[in-house]
Amino acid sequence: MYINSITLDNFRTFYGSRKIEFSVQENKPVTIFIGENGAGKTTLLNAVFWGFTGRFSKQFDSSEAIINRAAVEEGVKTCSVEISFSNEGVTYSLERIHTKGSSSSSIRLSKYDPSSGHLIPISADLAEMQIEKFIPNKLASWFFFDGEAIGALHLRGDSEFKRQLRQTFGFSSLEGLKELLIDMEKDYRREEARSIKSARLDDINDQLDALERQQKTLGDTVDLLKNTINIEESKKSECEGRLLNYAQAEPIQNRRNIASTRLAEEKNRRDQKVKIRNDFLIKNIPKVILSEKMGVLINQLNQKEEDQTLPEPFGTKLIDQIKYMKKCICGTEVLPGSPEDKCLDTMLNRASTGLLMQKIFAFRSQIGQYKKQGDEYQAHLNSLVNEIQKCESDIAEQEAIIRKADEDIKGIKIEEVRQLKESLGSSEAKIRGAERDIGAHENKMKFNRKDIDPLKAEQDKIFAQQNLSTHLRTEREKVSKILNYVSAEFSRQEAEVLDALNKEISGVLDAYLTKNYSAKVDPDSYEVKTYDVDGKPVSLGTGESNMLKFAVIAAIVGMAGSRTKISKVNWISEPIIAPLMFDAPFSVIDPVYRAGVTKNLSDLASQLILLFDSGKWDQELFDILSKKIGKTYLLVSKAKGPEKSVSKSVEIAGKIFNLNEYGDRDETMLKEIQL
């Protein structure tokens, strides 16, 4: 089946009638849509999904009115989606119509008659059957897939996943039959037991009833716990998805923190150097100012020393003694006021005392050093200034890193990242707790089963010893035989499908993961487990885990479409040849896997419709897909009101295209671009 075109008439954000033609060329089967977040990609996916099934995807907000708001204001009461598609050379037109106030929708299916050139209507009853043949309702959600649902897909033995998968592969009726037979057999047993008077049998019945009640309670609790795990897994997945958008926040913040620490250290170092320089200047500027004059003084003092005109080494104590005794050591009288006394005064003025000599020595020594320091001032100052400049340059470098980090981190809400991490941790803890409880409950159920089987055997023994109604026994044995057959057949078919599915999933994993992992679906819980090359179970990281989910989807689509070369399940009905429409295929897929996934998608279906978020579109994707792209559309968000300076754009094949515009109403515009 190929979708030729879709015509949206006042459907959600699409105002008026909008026809979109898809590429149906065999060598270029890919149609791409690129739009910013909220532009209408999921709406477009749901238009096709709703057109075929009358349902919306789980992620789609169906609470909003289906009819375009602006159209409603103009009095429009209906909206519709018309899909033109071809199957085995015949072209059909499917129209689904919704009328305001109605909870359901109606369809009109017509077949194109090439001889007359007219559309021939098909009756409503036949129409539903016909569509079911083209794209079975139970499989539609795998073919029209909302990428954001990958995160919500649970592979840990989720009962919903098990139900969906069994339904997809046609087990539902067989499983229903098996359950019916089990209930019937139980009823017969009860009836037989009631007809026998045996205290032991009554006791066994009571025990069996109690055990079965307990098993039921335990089973319900396990389901609740698994549901808790699923809820927490969804929360975890959402947190991880949002954190993936903020993946760069942590390294940027770390880079900024390191730079901030270094900046503080550098500033501290610079301040210390400045202090050293200032101290140096304060101490040495006077020496520099006086340097020239100090040189002269030093020379003069040196000259005085040479000329022996510096104070002479006379002892002041000796002169004081002569003056006191009034007699020189040579015997000459030294009377106060006499020429001799005056001579002694003159000598005293020129005399050197130990202290004076020390003062002069200290002074000369000191000014010698000062002169030297004054002369070396510039060289020393230059070195200090260089050190400060080095600090300043380091400071500028760290400030530039911080500025760049601040620019990079713009738009990243650090508080939100913190809350997401907290929420992630909380979900992980709840999952661990629930897993632990499930383990305990399942163990208890296993023990109970060990008790149930011998009790049933004893019950059978007592039944055999009694002279029971032949009718009851025959009927029960008939039911048991059918049940055994159905169970065995169910197990065989299920094993066959699961084996094929395991090969498919492992094939996808093998193609896109660097590690040698294989996958196996547990037949009891339907948990998809992964194993390493030695067959040991491995737990996957978030990126790998989302890749595994993608592999499961790809495997199911591949098997349903019988496009797989790896395995075949003979009894599965006709292959489904349907287009694959994928919204936001990379919403939860790590960038490293994008190229592989894109290539895989284009190999998976006969017609591929991809809806990309402009933020996740890049040249690499274009390079991978370019040879297969037949049509390219932009989903342009038109906003009511005057034009703002803020605009969004996307680069495709080296050209820039605007993704938003302004006008008289809010709506999604479609623009086909030629590459």
Binding site: I285, I289, L290, L301, A362, F363, Y370
Partner: protein
Amino acid sequence: MSSLLDQKSLFSHDHSVYWPKKYERVVEYLKNGASDVENSQSFYKYNVEAIVLAACVGLREGYAGDLSSEKNEIALSTFNSQNLGIYLYLIPMLSQSEPSVDFFRSKEGEDKAISIFEKYAAGGLELLNDKLVTKSLDSPYLFTQDLINLRRDDVRDLDIDIY
């Protein structure tokens, strides 16, 4: 200090050094720039450091000042605690055409040395004050560094007679 005698011992008597109060603004500027309190531009920490700088500038420019107006006092011990006592001799010694060691000899000599220092400090403060009028936007660091290049034509040197 590597000399045999520390600067404290260069003086045998206790003294006070005076500088004109009217130049407090200059001293404050050299310490904290335009601000009243310590800040990132703060340079000199003590008044005594600024007074020594002023005396050096006064001497180099041959510009002695007047001390007749209101004065501020700095104890000799403050000079010695900052290892600046030597300038109280150095400035007077350098001011003489023929250096004399007699400043060291007696209390009178010490008094005379300090008196000469005070006059050059006052002169220097006046010069710095003049310069500050035109360079008040500079940081104390740049202002002080620029003093190395300061030259003044108006020389008003002392006529020194020690005794």
